[in-house]
Structure formats: C-alpha cells, structure tokens
C-alpha cells in the first residue's frame, strides 16, 4: 500500500516551464498546491561556464527520468521503432527551462486559425492531404492577456512591433497586437548582428531583435545578462535566465500555499467510479506514495503527458485516462527545425560572447505573412541569426569543402576561420497529420518496467517544401551579408525526439477529436487538466515555451475562477 500524504487542492505533476508557472496564480488564489517534481533543486553554483559539461557530458542533475524513458521513433507504422540518441530535456525544479535558449515568442494570430484562414484565402484544396489541423478553440486576442501576464511574471525582454495597432519596426511588424511594451528592452546586438540586420533591410525585409526570457537589464531583483557565452544548454550563474526556478516558483513558495516535492516520480493517476481523478501515485526511491487532490494538472513534457495518461488505465478509462475517444497521442508534431543553413564569412564575426537568444529575426516569410498563391505549401518559417559560439563547437565547424577536418592543413584552416562560420536557426510551420502519433512502445520500458513512448511520425510534403523555400531565403540573406560559402543540410524525414514536441493531448471544442476542452481540461475527466505544448494544435514558426506558459497561466486562472464547477 502506498503511503497516503495530506490531501491538496491541486497537484501539479512537473515543476517545469508550464507547471512552475501555473503554480503561481493557484497559490496566490489561496489554493493548496503540491508540485511533484522528478528532479531536484539546482542553483547558480551548479552553472559553471563549462562547455564539456553543458554540451558534451551529463548535466549536474541527479535524476535522469527523461533519459530513462526517452521515446523510440520511426517514420511510419511500416517499420520498427529505434531508440537512438539521448533526451535533450532535463529533470529539475524549473525543468529544461533551467538551460533552454529562452527565446520567448508569442504565436502569430494566424497560428490559431490555420484551417479557416487557409480555406478563406486560398481555398479548401490548399490544406495538405492527411492533415488533422483545426482552428484552436481560442484566438490570439483571447490569449493576449495571459501572454502579457507571463511576460511580466517571468521577465521577457524584447521590442514590441505592434502595440494596439501601432507598428514599430524596432519590433516584429507581423506580430499580433500587444496591449503594451515588453517589460524590458531587447538584448543587445553585436557588430555582426548589425551587419545581418542591414543586409536584411537591403533586401527589403524587416529585421528585429527577438524576444527572450533573459534580463536585458536588472529585473525583479535579478541581474542583467552577462553575455558570457555559455548560455546554450547552460544554466545562468547570475540568474538572468528566467526559468520558473528563479521567477514564479519562489513567489509561489512565498505564499505558503505551494509545496514542492522533489525526486517524486509519478507513475499513474487514480480515478473514482465516475471517472473523476482522485490523486496521483508516485515513488521516491523505492517508497510509494499517494497524493490525494481535488484537481490533477499534468505538466510534464509532451512525451510524458501522453505517456502518463496512457499508463493510467482504469475501469472508467480502459485505454488510458481521458482516452475513451482514442485521441491521446494524436495530432503529434516534432517542430521542423531541421534543414539548416550554414555560412562561412571572410572575416571574424566576434561571436564568442553571445547567446542563442540574442539575434536578428526575420518574420517576412513566416506563417501567412506573405502570399502563398503561387507556392506549393502553406505556412513558412522564422529566420534567426544569433550570436553563439563556444571553443569546442567552433573547432568542430564544417570546413566548407576546403579539405579534411583534422591534421596540419585543418589547423591552419581553423586558426583562420574559427570565428567565421555561422549557423542559422530556422523554425518552420509544422502541421498535425492523421498518421503522425504517439503510443506506448511494445518493446522498450523504463527502469520501473513501464513502456516508453513510441513516436510514429514524419515530415510531409508541406513541411519539406517550406523548409526548402526557407533555405533559399536564408542563403539569399547570407550572400547579401558577404558569406563566401554556404552549406545546406537535408530537409528531414523521421520526426525524432525534439525540444519542440507538440500535441498528444490537443485542446479543441470537439470531444471526438480532442482530449482537452478550450480551457485545457479533459472532455472526459472534468477535474483533470493538462499543461504544456502537448495541448497545442499547431506549432507556429517559433519556440513554443512562452505559448505553453501563457496557456498554463490561462488554465490555472480559469481553475481559480471555476473552482466549484471543476473541483466539486
């Protein structure tokens, strides 16, 4: 028998980017909240600027739950799934937001209405074959106040491009209207980034500094970014990277209403005969516990969310919790971030002290910001030129066809070119499809003997065409900035494990097609909510975290407002 602990109003499974944010409005409203976190606490002293540890070896976290249960993947159901590589995520209070790039975008209004807008502008035939895309159950305007709240609660720097319809070219002219400016101005640019911006303008494009959950100046008692150059998969030693670990979680703890339990590995969610959740089973070491709660919020990573529901079988839900419509695991997407473009310049870029969230963005070819009438795809991509370089990765750069990558000839090459290469980050619209999904793997298990998630998914024609188009645009930009060599990588095939994984517990008004209602609560188990990018029905062409956080904030505030309806 598991040990029963004191009941809570709300149990949140996962104290990461989404759960760690949602805890704050719940705790502030006076609800008793228990946050179950598989990882442990980390602090500034754990975040040495050390490329070997950050980028080549294991991070200093004690618990490796994500690694232990990393999914298998395959392109289609015709093949067996393989388990390759490692997990890019981590377990800790604050989650992977402890070491993420911290780019903090709002989605474009189009991303909420891909289906209806595509039909309206181009006709029904332009929706890609096999896609299950539908409009979100809410639009940008409805999410705007929650974006605003989270930008202030965690601290986001950036230049507004559209405040209540007033366009400012220092920011993104294509963004949806904002109620007000960002709480901090954007991170600075280097000489090379200025050059990239000038080149983009010479092409008639609209460059701007992207938004980041990184302090460009002192904010809420925390230091400004020190630009030390180890931000890529690095924790911040000066606490300028605004993960929930240092922003919302400490504030929620101050209310006295949040209790965080670390090294708590959740195994299943319990339900009663009516199908309402009653609490959560978890283990700490070999000790089993049951945490009773009136509301359960699942806030793991996308793979964990579907997995936990599928593993929680009961009489009320024989195929997994909230899965009587067979929608858990459906509408899965690995964000298309592949199809990279690299460039070699004939001069040093002085990029040693940048960070991935510091850069120049181009949104002219994202979403539906340009006319697709004569193009064979919908959506597009965000071009991102950042400032990010570390010694080992610099020395491991491509030789751009100029000889082999070791030996004396290479030494001369690297001595001259170590600071002259650049890699663009290009995020593309990725759509959900009928045959892209998550389920439980029939072979691989974690240490507890529970099956891991199996990804069956591949990029389709729409994604590949958009990727090829974006590579052309990126090459054009690099050439305008003076690049002398360009490399392009493949456009992608199998959707593997990624840091941008969406779907599996999609929100939508139709219970036959969606696990969650418009507020992020289950269509089947009324006191079960889900937080994270697993609720999103489209990817957008930009990093998901801020949108996942805004949705989590919205779900939490809705829970407070509708407490009686949901919890009782």
């Amino acid at each position: 028998m598991p040990r029963q602990v004191r009941p809570a109003d709300v149990v949140i499974i996962g104290m990461g980017a989404a759960g760690g944010v949602a805890a704050l409005p719940l705790a502030e409203a006076g609800l008793s909240v228990v946050g179950l976190e598989a990882g442990t606490w980390l602090d500034q002293r754990d975040f040495a600027p050390d490329e070997i540890r950050n980028n080549y070896r294991d991070w200093p976290f004690l618990v490796k739950k994500v690694e232990d249960e990393r999914p298998t993947s395959r392109a289609t159901s015709a093949t067996n799934a393989n388990r390759v590589g490692g997990s890019p995520m981590m377990n800790a209070v604050g989650g992977t937001a402890v070491h993420y790039w911290a780019q903090s975008w709002r989605l474009n209004p189009w991303d909420f209405k891909v289906a209806s807008e595509t039909v309206r502008r181009y006709g029904f035939s332009r929706l890609p074959a096999g896609t299950t895309v539908e409009d979100w159950p809410l639009d940008y305007e409805e999410l705007e106040p929650h974006y605003d709240a989270v930008e202030r609660a965690i601290g986001v720097s950036g230049n507004a491009g559209n405040v209540r319809g007033n366009i400012d070219l220092k920011g993104n002219k294509f963004e949806g209207p904002r109620d007000r400016e960002y709480p901090m101005p954007a991170l600075r640019w280097t000489g090379f980034l200025e050059r990239m911006a000038d080149s983009a303008r010479s092409l008639g494009w609209h460059p701007f500094a992207g938004p980041a959950a990184i302090n460009s100046e002192r904010y809420d008692g925390r230091a400004a970014c020190a630009y030390h150059g180890f931000c890529n998969k690095g924790g911040c030693p000066v606490n300028a990277k605004n993960s929930p670990l240092i922003s919302t979680i400490p504030k929620a703890l101050e209310t006295g209403n949040l209790k965080v339990v670390t090294q708590a590995h959740v195994t299943t969610i319990e339900v009663d005969r009516e199908g309402r959740t009653t609490g959560v089973n978890y283990v700490v070491g070999t000790e089993e516990y049951f945490q009773p709660a009136r509301v359960v919020l699942v806030a793991g990573y996308t793979y964990e969310n579907s997995r936990l529901l599928l593993l929680s079988k009961s009489n009320a839900y024989p195929d997994g919790l909230s899965n009587n419509a067979g929608q858990v695991g459906r509408h899965y997407m690995s964000h298309h971030q592949g199809g990279a473009v690299g460039a070699l310049f004939p001069f040093d870029l002085k990029a040693w002290y940048g960070l991935p969230a510091q850069g120049v963005a181009i949104d002219d070819f994202a979403d539906d910001n340009f006319d697709h009438s004569d193009l064979a795809f919908i959506g597009g991509g965000n071009l991102w030129a950042m400032s990010d370089r570390r010694p080992i990765s610099a020395a491991s750069m491509s030789t751009y066809g100029r000889g082999r990558n070791w030996g004396s000839g290479w030494k001369r090459f690297i001595h001259e070119n170590s600071d002259r290469s650049h890699g663009a980050y290009i995020q593309k619209t990725t759509l959900p499809y009928e045959d892209n999904y998550l389920d439980l793997d029939p072979t691989y298990t974690d240490r507890l003997g529970l099956p891991v998630i199996r990804i069956t998914a591949q990029y389709k024609e729409n994604e590949l065409r958009a990727a090829s188009y974006m590579q052309d645009k990126m090459e054009e930009w690099y050439r305008a900035a003076g690049a002398v060599e360009i490399t392009r990588s493949g456009l992608g095939n199998t959707m593997g494990i990624t840091t941008h994984a969406y779907g599996g517990t999609r929100m939508g008004n139709d219970p036959e097609m969606n696990v969650l209602d418009r507020w992020g609560f289950s269509h089947e188990a009324p006191n079960l909510g889900v937080l994270g990018a697993s609720v999103m029905g489209t990817s957008g062409a930009r990093n998901p975290t801020l949108t996942a956080q805004a949705l989590a904030w919205r779900t939490a505030t809705h829970l407070v407002e509708a407490w009686r309806d949901i919890a009782e």
Partner: protein, 240 residues
C-alpha cells in the same frame, strides 16, 4: 609564439612521443617557456602535473602508443604550434575512461587493436611504424568507413571509432582545462578564443569587435563561485 618556443615544443613532443608507449601519459607533461613547471604559472594545469610519471590507468602501453600516434596526426604539433598531445589529450581520455559509467573503454581497446591490424594488412606495418603519410591515409580510411574489411574487424564501424577519438581529442584540446586537457591553453590560443569571462560588458564587446580585447586565460573553476567550499554568490569581473 616565438620560433624558439616552437622548436622547443617540437623537439620535446617528438622525444616524448617515442616514450609514450613506455611511460604513458607521463610523456605529455608540458613545460612553460622558461622551463618552470606549468603549475607555477597556471594553477589549472595542476591536474595534468598530478598525472605525470604515471602510465594511463585504462589502456596498456601498446594501446597508449597507438592512441598517441593517432592523436598526433589528428591535431599535430607543427610549425603553427603545439598539438593535441601537448594539450594533454592522452591524459584527458584516460580520465574520461575512468569515470563511473564510462562505456568507452572497450570501444577504445577494440578500436585501437583494429587500427593496428588494419595498418598491418593494408600498409605492411603497425600503425606507429607507418610514415606520417601512410598513417594519414589509414585514418582517412577509418573516417570514411572504408576500413571495415581487411581483417580489421572494427566493432560497429571504423568511422564510429574515428569520430569517438576525434570528439574526445577536440574536447581535450579545446575544452576547459579543468578536465586535464587544453594544457597551457594551447587549444584556445590556436583558435584565438578570448577566454572564460563571467561578464562581458557592452564595452568589452566593442573592444572585441575592434580586436582590442585582451584574452583571459583561466578555467571556469578558477572563479570562486564554482569551486567547492567557497562562499556563495557570483564572482564577477570588476562588478557585482
């Protein structure tokens, strides 16, 4: 680097390479310009000094010899300056193999033996006996995966073995000296890395853009907040 220094390094390295099989990592003790122990100038090099005069823990003398010869071709010491052996790559890899949970020891052992067999079958001599030109062509075969047959019997692929050694050699040469490599900051000097700083001000970036920023040469763990038993809190250059 001065011509004199370069000559001295080259001679030292060659002599030491010969001795590598017998003395293991001991061969790779760096010396500073004036011959004083490196430790006296660069505290971070103490880990390397501590390994001196000791054979590698995880590889035999024969394996060490092959690995040293391979590493010496990957990043050679040449007229441009010292190479990966001088940076302490052997000792770095040995430490890596000693770490709990390391699964690479068998990969090194079998890969190095296969490299030797491949050299015998295709070029008529043990890898260490081949000319530099033949060593390079054998390594190109490994890298491209073309060394699979010929009785070499690489476990997995020869390219996998090559890439593992290359990756570790790069980490050793260009990573933080904390792990025993990048001795005398050889790797960071080669690529003109301006160094680990805890804060890079607007003015620092301007100086960097203008090629006027002086490089810093210290390990991340030389900053107090990352050491053990030190006071908490950031240790920022100049401010904070």
């Amino acid at each position: 680097m001065t011509d004199e220094r370069r000559k001295k390094d080259a001679i030292t390295r060659r002599d030491l390479l010969k001795a590598a099989g017998a003395a293991g990592a001991a061969a790779m003790i760096p010396t500073s310009l004036d011959g004083a122990p490196v430790e006296a100038i660069r505290p971070v090099a103490s880990a390397v000094t501590a390994m001196s005069n000791a054979p590698l823990m995880n590889l035999t003398a024969r394996e060490t010899e092959i690995l040293a010869a391979m590493i010496d071709r990957l990043i050679p010491s040449d007229e441009l300056g010292p190479g990966a052996l001088d940076a302490g790559a052997l000792g770095f890899i040995d430490r890596l193999l000693s770490e709990a949970g390391s699964t690479s020891v068998d990969a090194y052992r079998s890969g190095l033996a296969a490299l030797d067999r491949y050299s015998e079958y295709t070029r008529g001599g043990r890898f260490v006996e081949l000319s530099e030109r033949d060593q390079d062509s054998a390594l190109i075969d490994l890298q491209t995966g073309g060394a699979g047959g010929a009785g070499a019997d690489f476990v997995g692929s020869s390219g996998g073995f090559f890439n593992m050694v290359k990756s570790h050699t790069w980490q050793a040469t260009f990573g933080d000296p904390h792990y025993g490599g990048n001795v005398d900051f050889i790797g960071w000097d080669l690529i003109d890395y301006p160094g680990v700083r805890m804060r890079v001000s607007d003015e620092d970036q301007r100086l960097l853009d203008a090629e006027q920023l002086e490089p810093v040469r210290r390990s991340a763990y030389d900053y107090a907040m990352f050491g053990t038993g030190r006071p908490r809190g950031p240790d920022l250059d100049g401010e904070g």
